[in-house]
Amino acid sequence: MTITSPVPSAASTDPGVFLSVEDLRVHFPTDDGLVKSVDGLTFDLRRGEILGIVGESGSGKSVTAQAILGLHKGSKAKISGHIWLDGQDLVPASEDDMRAVRGSEIAMIFQDPLSSLHPFYTIGNQISEAYRVHNKVSGRDARKRTIEMLEKVGIPNAAARYSDYPHQFSGGMRQRAMIAMALICEPKLLIADEPTTALDVTVQAQILELIKELRNELNSAVILITHDLGVVAETCDHVVVMYGGQAVEKGPVADLFDVPEMPYTWGLLSSMPRMDRVRQTRLTPIPGSPPSLIQVPKGCVFNPRCRFSDRVEGNRCFTVHPDLLPTAPGHEVRCHIDPEERRQILLTEIRPNL
């Protein structure tokens, strides 16, 4: 994770960076107005790293993932900014160019494996199809490779289950099959969009472990989209907290959990059950509801729900949009509250109740 300049214009100079998203904006024109699903998102990712994107529903997580994969091409979405993948900008790329990248360079795992698998084709057929798009191989070789992949993701009796249909698989097995499909071409970037949300808790841990293992084996970069902070703590190296289509805080995972500085992050942490310590109080939900993406609040996006906006002089929370500014190495926060005061609030008011 590097600190990028506010007005980036070219690919990141850091040679280790594999994916660099710069000032990404995804806007959807609708009858009600322009929906700013993602509004100026910037982050970097290296190979072998797992980046968590956290946020509530409608914060722009999935839209970001689909923009990286170019799935908005052909829709009415207006996309600006840059998505540098290994030096190549994917935003202006044509649908044909993106098609070559999808599945081979970037692969994706979706939230609900049952609805994401075609009900009328066998698991084997669907996975080997993903392999054959990008590799000129015979049907027999594709089948062999598919069975290998199914074994690798831990599906017992893979050869026999090759010709099973998705409805004959259990939820966890389906997600394993989705992972096999995503990884069959050994992608350099894997995007997992809430891969464990639809699964049993016992299966969740297995799936996350599997993603980590495969990351180690292929040295892929991974983006893990979730609203589950427990998953983030367990799996990710870096975290981007998204709110209202913007990154409100980013940093190494340890920083986010130890020294969070953005009131929204505090809210998320306060509303999360902890197994590692005894809570003094009940879980505190964040009051209010996510902002409208058509009429984004003036000033800070989080201001209608923020308990601390009175700590900023001159009503700036409601008039000036805060920048995402570094507060520690690799740790950036979008907040008007003075950094010293933020740390003070964290120590005295927030941490005791976490």
């Binding site: 009900p119 009328f120 199809e129």
Partner: protein
């Protein structure tokens, strides 16, 4: 799969049996309710005075004095095993299974009349079914992929127009244009495909088009809405995320799913059309099952009405059976 087929087959047989009982009972009730001697519905007249010994003898000859179950068995066994029809005077007529009886008005076995009409009806229905399926699904798919576009509006307006125009309008208009004005089809009289395929095609093309026009419109709208729904499914997103080209995404992943419900409707539509293409047959002067039905109803020729009803019911049940089997093949989730 075998169990599934046997199960459905048994169901189909039960349905056909019930249809045969019900139609039989209806045609028993008609003479009873209208206080007409059943002989009238078989011969077209009551030749003797009511209560006269001659009428009694005739009633006995037809078996109308037998108990209901015996009459039904006589009727059913005729269909199953055939029978010999005799009036005791002329040469007995052999009526092989399935025997639907004898029409005294037409002086012909009902089976023979139906056998003459079935090829005409099948030619009409099969040909137009292919036309409307291909046409309707193509228009619907193209429209469904680009909702709101000019091509979608043209397709949907066109199909609204087509669905609103009755066959007795489109049929004569087609005849007027292609037969009388342009003279492309000077002779459209029907010829069996086995005897003169070219003439058969010539006679069938306009009926096909006018019947298909109506159905294609419905299928276009249905395909469009199914396609719209399917293309927003998660598995379409997965297919795109794999890097498949648009053709494969649309046809292999989209259309396959969108067409599944259409299979059901298609089977039932085709089955229903057997015996009900009256207007098309009338407009184009085809002697199919629909024509036979209407003329026998007008003449109150009971044996033919009975026979045609059974044939139409069997057609619908068979179509349904085929659809069930096909559905199990198309949608793997159906088979248990």
């Amino acid at each position: 799969m075998i169990r599934f087929i046997i199960y459905r087959l048994l169901g189909a047989i039960v349905v056909i049996w019930i249809v045969s009982v019900v139609t039989f009972l209806i045609f028993q009730a008609v003479p009873l309710l209208s206080h007409t001697n059943p002989v009238y519905f078989y011969t077209g007249k009551v030749p003797f005075k009511p209560g006269s010994p001659q009428l009694k003898a005739l009633t006995h000859r037809f078996g109308f004095d037998l108990p209901l179950y015996a009459q039904y068995w006589h009727y059913l066994s005729g269909i199953l095993f055939g029978q010999t029809i005799t009036d005791g005077v002329s040469v007995p007529i052999k009526c092989p299974a399935p025997c639907f009886g004898y029409s005294f008005r037409q002086n012909e076995l009902v089976g023979t009349l139906i056998a003459q009409a079935v090829p005409v009806s099948l030619s009409l229905i099969v040909g137009s079914a292919i036309l409307w399926l291909v046409g309707g699904v193509s228009v619907g798919t193209i429209s469904g992929l680009r909702p709101g576009s000019a091509i979608d509006r043209i397709g949907m307006t066109g199909s609204l127009a087509a669905v609103s125009l009755p066959i007795f309008f489109t049929g004569p208009v087609l005849l007027l244009i292609f037969e009388y004005t342009l003279g492309w089809l000077p002779d459209v009289s029907y010829a069996p495909i086995t005897q003169n395929p070219v003439q058969w095609l010539r006679s069938m093309i306009l009926p096909w088009v006018s019947l298909a026009f109506l159905f294609a419109a419905l299928y276009a709208r249905l395909t469009r809405s199914n396609m719209l729904e399917t293309m927003s499914e998660d598995y379409i997103r997965t297919a795109r995320a794999k890097g498949l080209d648009r053709r494969t995404v649309v046809i292999k992943h989209g259309l396959r799913a969108a067409l599944t419900p259409i299979v059901t409707i298609f089977g039932i539509d085709v089955g229903t059309l057997v015996g009900t293409t009256v207007i098309t047959e009338n407009v184009f002067n085809l002697r199919g099952l629909g024509f036979l039905t209407i003329s026998s109803i007008q003449q109150q020729d009971l044996p033919i009405i009975l026979g045609v009803t059974i044939v139409a019911a069997v057609a619908l049940v068979v179509a349904n059976f085929v659809v069930d089997i096909l559905y199990a093949v198309v949608d793997p989730r159906v088979t248990v």
